[in-house]
């Protein structure tokens, strides 16, 4: 019989693994399985009815479109921020670097009410948009703003270490062979950091899809227009429509898992590229 565990002189394996599996099952696996049993009780027809209803489809569309827009924004500006933090020196750089993680540390509800206040038509930032007849708060654009905030650190933090590892010799070699600065970036630096950029993008995207706290204050939450999928789950729960809430949750989970698999594949791909 093949051995389950390789021999080791260290003690505590059974206790540590046993406790890990017990805790994992009690806190994560059993509760999550409730979701699938509840959905299974609905049957395919019931699940399909809920999943294909106009309001659910609209909420999923709003969620995905705004999450994608926010992740793209962060990919572009996150790359610039990472570039500046790795390559240039300027006063206060360490402080700026530390502050990039603010969205990880600031509770989402605080971000939500603050952004809603700032981007309201009479808010500090919203007034400038209002002057051009653009409404930010209480529209899908407001959702993009909130999702951009919460996803900001992902791209910066994934690109930063990879960019720092790009060897100056390769750039110098290319330059000495006559490549211009833009060519060097396009042909040497960008291909090196591209997998990390994609990973950061995917992480920001995945986080945005599930986000709730920072969005609901600024979104306006109009069904079909600015209602996100997590909010629809809460709305169904408040009407005691547990089956409906569960079906949407399962739908979102399946999508998140697909994304997680994609992220893992990306990381595998980029580590293979790095090893080459």
């Amino acid at each position: 019989m093949a051995q389950f565990k390789a021999h080791s002189v260290l003690p505590g394996f059974n206790l540590a693994l046993g406790y890990t599996l017990l805790y994992l099952s009690l806190i994560v696996l059993v509760p999550l399985s409730a979701l699938f049993f509840k959905t299974a009780a609905l049957g395919w027809a019931g699940f399909y009815d809920i999943a294909s209803s106009d309001r659910v489809l609209a909420a999923l569309r709003v969620t995905f479109v705004t999450s994608f827009a926010a992740a793209v924004t962060n990919a572009v500006f996150g790359l610039v921020v990472a570039w500046v933090l790795v390559r240039y020196r300027f006063p206060g750089k360490k402080l700026v670097d530390a502050f990039v993680d603010l969205p990880f540390a600031l509770p989402t509800a605080v971000a939500g009410i603050t952004l809603a206040t700032l981007y309201a038509p009479n808010g500090w930032l919203g007034q400038y948009f209002a002057a051009h007849d653009i409404k930010v708060a209480y529209t899908p654009l407001g959702i993009v703003v909130a999702l951009t905030f919460i996803g900001l650190p992902f791209v910066v933090r994934t690109v930063q270490p990879v960019l720092a590892d790009v060897e100056a010799e390769v750039e110098e070699a290319a330059a000495s062979l006559g490549a211009g600065r833009w060519d060097v970036f396009r042909r040497i630096i960008f291909p090196a950091i591209y997998p990390a950029l994609l990973t950061g993008f995917a992480l920001a995207f995945a986080r945005a899809i599930g986000e709730y706290g920072s969005v609901i204050f600024i979104a306006g939450n109009m069904p079909y227009i600015s209602e996100i999928a997590p909010l629809l789950i809460v709305a169904k729960l408040e009407q005691y429509d547990y089956a409906g809430a569960t079906a949407i949750a399962v739908l979102m989970l399946l999508i998140s898992f697909a994304l997680l698999l994609g992220i893992n594949a990306l990381q595998w791909w980029s580590s293979r590229k790095g090893a080459r």
């Binding site: 565990k5 610039v80 500046v84 990880f104 540390a105 605080v110």
Partner: protein
């Protein structure tokens, strides 16, 4: 500088103009998305003066929200520390089958929307849930009560410590522990005297981030809380209620405490990074 050297300099560095423009672009983006909101929280909180700010914080409902938030964090962080250390010990120090599946499962709560994290406990322990009737028969209330809030908080912060410790302990290997054991140390002695000193910065780092999330969690807690003022409201939920009542000064006053927590978190995090660099001990494993 010879013409050739100048040429090389140009192709390995951006021109001054481009450099300056990029720095300005990055700083503008960060100021607009991070700086202005952070300033706005404190500005709004103090916009009607210290007296009203103070009033909002010492109000009984606000105090009970602070208390509940501290309780939830004080239970969930230690629970996840014990789990994180156990999981990292098993995964980093031993070879066994199914290890990568286990690591993926530990990460699972990060892939779940906070709202769904709350929903699963409602499905289990709510009035209509699996254990609902049994709990009701025994007069135990988990959902719309403090235990539900603690459970939801544990779930959303579940991977924080394990995820920090696993790569760190994997990178450190097991030679030191094996040496200690072969010299006659017991398992616990080995852990307390050899492993723990090696992972202390990584552990502290995980604790800080775990605590920030535990105290700030909104979505998951919102679903299981029932929003009973003075009883099942955490600070973020209290912020929501005040904001929806158009009591902006009070909402931002409570929010400013949470923003302060965020700033302290960032400060301590930088301090740990600095301290770990200075002592030459790695903080993160090689991913």
């Amino acid at each position: 500088m010879s013409a050739q050297a100048l040429q090389r300099k140009i192709a390995t560095h951006e021109s001054r103009g481009v450099t300056l423009a990029l720095i300005l672009l990055a700083l503008t983006y960060l100021i607009l998305f991070l700086g202005v909101p952070l300033y706005a929280v404190f500005y709004q909180a103090f916009s009607k003066g210290w007296a009203l700010y103070w009033e909002a914080l010492k109000e009984p409902d606000a105090l009970s929200a602070v208390k509940l938030t501290v309780i939830a964090a004080a239970i969930s962080v230690p629970a996840n520390v014990v789990f994180g250390v156990a999981a990292a010990w098993a995964i980093a120090k031993f070879e066994f089958k199914g290890k990568s599946l286990l690591i993926t499962l530990i990460d699972l709560p990060f892939a779940v929307s906070p709202v769904v994290s709350g929903l699963i406990y409602v499905l289990l322990f709510g009035a209509q849930g699996w254990f609902g009737p049994w709990l009701q028969a025994h007069d135990i209330k988990l959902i719309f009560a403090v235990p539900g809030i603690v459970l939801a908080t544990i779930f959303v912060t579940f991977p924080f410590i394990a995820r920090e410790l696993i790569p760190l302990m994997q990178a450190q290997g097991k030679e030191e522990e094996e040496a200690a054991v072969s010299l006659g140390a017991s398992g616990w002695q080995t852990f307390w005297r050899v492993t723990l000193p090696n992972i202390k910065w990584g552990l502290l780092y995980g604790v800080i981030l775990c605590n920030a999330r535990a105290m700030g969690e909104f979505g998951a807690v919102s679903v299981v809380s029932g929003h009973i003022r003075g009883l099942t409201n955490t600070m973020p939920l209290h912020v929501e209620i005040l904001y929806n009542e158009y009591n902006f000064v009070a909402a931002f006053a409570v929010a400013s405490l949470l923003a302060l927590l965020a700033l302290v978190t960032l400060g301590v995090k930088s301090l740990i990074e600095w301290q770990a660099r200075r002592s030459g001990e790695p903080l993160h494993g090689t991913h």
